[in-house]
Symmetry: C2
Subunit: 405 residues, 2 copies
């Protein structure tokens, strides 16, 4: 066994030193985490920020219960989608006025892809490319968007995108970080390649926003979507968001032109006239409880730079990889996530044949990661509430489980 | 002035007697309403059921905060859309397995209309008819559904629907109760006429569900949608629902085939295979806070029959019309809502030139209704928490306001 007590003592001591030097360590206090648990599934459901329950209680008891309908104006409910969009925007590198919160990621993928095809507005560009390794809903929705705009869907691996681009390409839908492997794709390079080919780039940020710099404006991304319940800690199924680059807003033509995206929603006009800005990406009445829970959750980012989060994330995953290498029985797992920093998200995925059983045993021992069919153990590292001691413990417990199974 | 003290004393005494005889009077205790307010805007935002805050607190602190990701299984989060759909189904006259909760009404209108065109599957049927007087979002979304399925949108008044139906009609989108006038449309008769013409009927139940019997199954409705934040008291912007009649489910082909409507969502297969039943109407990850708030809100319906709600609703609106007739300065307002019970929803709309100012004055005096541009005062009567004393008071205060203005 390579996870000898001497080795683990050394790593435990290193973890103590790393935690002591961690400038983000204090942020853990902003979250309510159960005692005795190492939570490495924040890339599936972020932990509960302590500020959320009190705020939601106030929304229910006072804003809904007492002010009732008046809260649409007086409590700022009506403008929540764009206000919270602006709050979230710096985390994805967007200037104000380009992000609107609401609906699910799937619904926003549909809006973004259909709108992209309409922005390109060229019948000869009859293909939509989609990341073949992406989270499946993106592919399902992209197929529907292609079908409903008379285009063909062409699934390709991200590495094959540059070769697949051409005069037939209308739009490309890519994931910034692969949900299964944790691979970080080259957003600047791929976006540039897509533009070079005369097409538009739509990025899904579900597994990157809140964990690493995205730089939507800097890299000239056209449209983007993402969820808020992973690294943004908005709560289970909290509203997603849509980014529409300022230069595309005037011609952004939504397939879901609901009344709250209308230029004058209370005019109740029979014809649709889109609002200016990202607001035209709104559809129906905003879901206030979930949306204001998200707004409260975003408070943990006050004063936090995404660069410092990224630095800690890489330190955490580097440390986990070291512990894994030295603790685990040799050959028992295969590291699926790329080792190069430029290709790594904020998770480490390990392949092992009995991953389902191993994850069950880990969870019983208080280490919560998740299992992705058929053979992947997935560990997400959320820099705001995961420390180096957690990393050491999780690798140690994983070694124990693997030695017993 | 016709609202003399003698008249108002008589009506006040009648209100006391009516409240005493009201079998639903006790349900008011299930709601948290502010002191001193008559709330006649439940047709815009239903009042807060007392059970909601405690339940949502538990969802946040325990299910999210402590159980974390495990709650998707252990707390029943994953199956919430169909479970809450089944809970809601009896209120709209649907047998289990046909209603799924999620997304906004607008998004569900899109699913339902596109699916209806695909169910009809006949190129010659190239028209979608839509209620020209409907809440605008239905018309906006219907236009998009028509555009994306290669059909033409034809707005017609509900009374003109029978004459407009024909071999070119694919689907018809109608509102059960008009949001502005409170007119109740003939769902059984219009559905039969639509079927006679070989088309499908899609109904929007936003202003009827929870206020009167709908009878979706009995009347053979094909598809329906509705919100849950009016008479169903789910909270601001709470999730909407979609009804897919059992006979159409196998061929229901959603334009938003998200991963949670997949037959095997965690198989992460690259190709979409729809789940059986109304579940295929699901799209993205369900919004749990809002959805479970709605579930708790639906608890107020335990033991309540929709027929008794309808009987009280008609008694309330009849009584309001009597008070209005005898209290208000003659000719000052025009009753817009039909007087016939068969054509009346659960609201009374009054037209008066200075409606905006009048509603402001009413709200200052604790009577909360709403104003619909340009000249409509709208009063919604929610039988579970509005009593006859409230009705008398609101008409009396309205008379005072009109006499001063």
């Amino acid at each position: 066994m390579s996870g000898s007590s001497t080795v683990s003592e050394t790593y435990a001591a290193r973890a103590v030193a790393l935690d002591a030097a961690d400038g983000l360590a204090g942020y853990r206090e902003l979250f309510a985490l159960p005692e005795g648990v190492v939570y490495l599934d924040g890339n599936s459901l972020g932990a509960l920020p302590r500020a959320v329950p009190g705020r939601v209680q106030d929304v229910m008891a006072r804003e809904w219960g007492e002010l009732l309908i008046r809260s649409w104006d007086e409590s700022g409910w009506w403008t929540a989608p764009e206000r919270i969009g602006d709050r979230l925007a710096p985390l994805v590198g967007a200037a104000p006025g380009q992000v609107v919160v609401g609906d699910s990621t799937s619904v926003n993928v549909f809006k973004a892809l259909v709108a992209a095809v309409r922005l390109v507005d060229d019948e000869a560009r009859d293909e939509i490319l989609v990341d073949a390794t992406t989270f499946p809903t993106d592919g399902y929705i992209a197929r529907s968007a292609a079908r409903m705009t008379g285009r063909t869907l062409r699934p390709v691996r991200p590495a094959e995108v540059p070769g697949a681009l051409g005069p037939r390409t209308a739009a490309v839908l890519l994931n910034h970080v692969d949900y299964r492997t944790g691979r970080l794709h080259d957003l600047p390079g791929l976006t540039a390649a897509v533009h070079e080919a005369g097409a538009l780039a739509v990025w899904d940020l579900c597994h990157s926003a809140g964990a690493l710099p995205v730089g939507l404006d800097t890299h000239g991304v056209d449209l983007a979507v993402g969820c808020t319940y992973k690294y943004l800690n908005g709560g289970p199924g909290s509203p997603a968001y849509l980014y529409v680059a300022a230069r595309h807003q005037e011609r952004f033509d939504s397939p879901l032109p609901g009344w709250t995206g209308h230029a004058n929603p209370f005019g109740m006009a029979p014809d649709y006239a889109p609002a200016d800005g990202a607001v035209r990406g709104r559809v129906g009445t905003p879901d206030i409880l979930s949306m204001l829970a998200l707004e409260a959750a975003l408070g943990v980012w006050d004063g936090v730079g995404v660069d410092s989060v990224r630095a800690k994330s890489l330190a955490l995953t580097d440390f986990f990889l070291e512990c894994v290498r030295d603790y685990l029985p040799e050959g028992r797992v295969e590291v699926v996530t790329p080792l190069a920093h430029t290709e790594r998200g904020s998770q480490i995925s390990l392949r092992c044949a009995d991953a389902g059983e191993v994850m069950k045993a880990l969870i019983e021992r208080g280490v919560l990661g998740d299992f992705r069919h058929p053979d992947v153990l997935r560990f997400g590292f959320t820099p705001l509430y995961v420390g180096f001691g957690d990393v050491e413990r999780s690798a140690r417990v994983l070694a124990e489980v693997l030695q017993r199974s």
